[in-house]
């Protein structure tokens, strides 16, 4: 890779990483930029970005924009860019509602990356990961995250952060961490991005400011501002269910503590509701309709992460939410089938989930193939044949038909 390109990627990746990534554990081998470092140097507060504003070409901010713009050009041809017009319009309309006159300055890119995140670059390039769409339970929750990101943009937190880090000893650490990352993220990058997120995250002040701005904007746009706290609640719960305890060191190092954040957001929401005289809407049905065509794909991507415990926890939470439960049971069964941990009795657990899916409906035909595979593994050939036949009946042009037929009729 061209050296300049690599460095550009690093610099860019640095600023693509906004606040929402809950991150990976900051282990002993890493040095997070702690509060002492970030508090020591505080650049003068910057005025909010103006509508249509571009930085003066002679400034460091303009340099930062150039690097980010180069990355943005690459985004247009990213293989994991979701280009579906309706989904893009849906997210874009929310962004426009929240950003008002800044709407033309913000460009939204929805990427197929199965992790909870949205990022905002200083030039108005916003990335929304599909993992966020899978995890948000309603439109107000999605809007809360988008509003938070817009807050970073308006307050120019990226350039503040850049100047802060440039002038502290953390810079080299920052860049050495960045060596693992660059450009458009994929699944493989999540760990590295998250680890770097712990270094490149905004300061607590910036986060709190973006939270406050986000909450105000969603309330103004008619959403229930309490959903902003609910988003963080969900993130915390997902980590807790997966027993990922140390991840919170990330929050503690440079973010408001999750409990504080939730408390602040809840308090702010109550104030906003009181001032407005109504709680606002969550828009559950509208949200579900918008993500419905992509939900299967998003769940499949999540399962392919092979982060089994975490995915089971997430699916359990989504089951409590109750949208398309049959499909959720199918994917929970898939996690057990793929993990195939005999001590955990995964094969029986998978079959149990498939059975629940069958009772509810809404599962894909390939569930029968999974049932066949499980029975094949258990050497229960009659049950395997029955399930495979059902799969071929429902999917007559299955790509693996040849192989399946040879399993059903080994002599032929």
């Amino acid at each position: 890779m061209n050296r300049l390109r690599l460095w550009s990627s690093i610099l860019c990746a640095t600023f693509l990483l906004a606040a929402c990534n809950p991150g990976q554990p900051v282990t002993d081998g890493q040095t997070a930029l702690n509060d002492e470092e970030s508090e020591e140097y505080k650049p003068a507060p910057l005025p909010d970005i103006k509508v249509g504003e571009r930085p003066d070409p002679s400034t460091d901010e303009a340099g930062l924009w150039l690097v980010v713009e180069r990355e943005e050009n690459k985004l247009h041809r990213a293989g994991n860019l979701i280009t579906d017009r309706r989904l893009n319009e849906y997210v874009r309309n929310i962004v426009c509602d929240l950003s008002g006159p800044y709407c033309p300055d913000i460009r939204v890119y929805i990427l197929r990356v199965p992790a909870f995140n949205a990022t905002m670059a200083p030039n108005g390039m916003m990335m929304v990961w599909s993992g966020l769409l899978l995890r948000a339970r309603n439109e107000a929750q999605l809007a809360a995250v988008l509003g938070h990101e817009i807050g970073h943009y308006l307050r120019r937190h990226s350039i503040q952060r850049f100047r802060n880090i440039r002038d502290t000893a953390g810079f080299l650490t920052f860049f050495s961490m960045g060596m693992a990352v660059g450009g458009v993220p994929g699944i493989a990058d999540i760990a590295a991005l998250a680890a770097m997120g712990s270094l490149s995250s905004f300061s607590r002040d910036n986060e709190a400011e973006a939270d406050a701005l986000g909450a105000e904007r969603i309330a103004e746009a008619g959403y229930d501002p309490r959903e902003a706290a609910a988003v963080w609640n969900n993130v915390i719960e997902e980590y807790e269910r997966a027993d990922i305890k140390r991840e919170f060191s990330f929050f503690l190092s440079s973010h408001p503590r999750p409990e504080d954040r939730e408390k602040d957001l809840t308090q702010r929401a109550e104030e906003l509701i009181k001032a407005k005289g109504s709680p606002g809407s969550k828009h559950v049905a509208r949200y579900r309709a918008a993500i419905a065509p992509f939900r299967t794909m998003m769940l499949r991507d999540e399962v392919r992460r092979r982060d089994y415990k975490r995915t089971v926890g997430l699916i359990d939470m989504l089951l409590e939410d109750g949208f398309r439960k049959g499909e959720l049971h199918y994917f929970k069964g898939e996690v057990f089938r793929l993990r195939d941990n005999q001590e955990e009795n995964d094969r029986a657990a998978a079959l149990e989930q498939y059975e629940k899916a069958r009772n509810i409906g809404g599962y894909p035909p390939r569930m029968y193939k999974s049932i066949g595979l499980l029975n094949l593994r258990q050497k229960n050939m009659p049950a395997a044949r029955k399930a495979f036949r059902q799969y071929l009946k429902l999917t007559p042009n299955a790509p693996d038909k040849g192989y399946i037929l040879s399993v059903i009729n080994p002599s032929s």
Binding site: M1, N80, G183, I187, A191, R304, R306, P399, D400, V407
Partner: protein, 200 residues
């Protein structure tokens, strides 16, 4: 570190290629692969080896390549890299692992999930059939996917998991022009696999 499938994996490959790979010419004839089996090729290939484990290409690894993964054991991923919590190897940590008794279906899912973790998207298995690998029972499957830069690619995977060790040969190239152009000569390599007596 073993190397990866297609430009989906190229992002990982670039650094390794520049620093560690040595390039040699594979002449037409019999070629030994990792002390495990031989293949016959009737055309010459460029072979990149070193940290990159036996990658063969005609026009360069960013265009097309054949990858040989040999002797993958229980609990190992395709790259035989256990991964780590941090650093460049973190990406290998949750990659799917081979287990004894896996069927061809399981292995196709393993390869698809590996690709999905390597910046490929829209991955589809377009065929899966039984096939001999050397003198062992094996399988072959074909995939279609988009690489990190949205280029449509096809991959042909050929392998066996007999004797509790997984051997895979993967060929990938852009769907347009290259894949079909070289498919016949790659098929000929696939069919020519002969396990060495000393291999497990």
């Amino acid at each position: 570190m073993k190397q990866t499938l297609g430009t989906a994996f190229i992002a990982l490959a670039c650094v390794a290629l520049t620093s560690c790979a040595s390039i040699s010419l594979v002449k037409p004839g019999t070629v030994e692969i990792e002390n495990t089996y031989t293949v016959e090729t009737n055309t010459a290939w460029n072979r990149m080896s070193g940290q990159v484990d036996d990658l063969w290409t005609l026009d360069g690894p960013l265009v097309q390549a054949i990858y040989f993964y040999t002797g993958i054991e229980e609990g190992e991923n395709i790259f035989q890299n256990p991964g780590s919590d941090n650093g460049p190897d973190a990406k290998y940590k949750n990659m799917p692992k081979f287990k004894k008794g896996m069927t061809a279906f399981d292995i196709s899912e393993m390869v698809v999930a590996t690709l999905a973790q390597s910046k490929a998207s829209d991955i589809q298995v377009v065929s899966l059939t039984k096939a001999e690998f050397g003198n062992r029972d094996g399988f072959r499957f074909e995939l279609r996917y988009k690489d990190a830069e949205s280029l449509e690619r096809k991959a042909l995977v050929f392998g066996t998991a007999q004797n509790d060790r997984l051997h895979l040969i993967l060929y990938q190239a852009p769907a347009m022009y290259y894949f079909d152009r070289d498919k016949a000569r790659v098929e000929q390599i696939f069919k020519s696999v002969r396990f060495l007596d000393r291999s497990a």
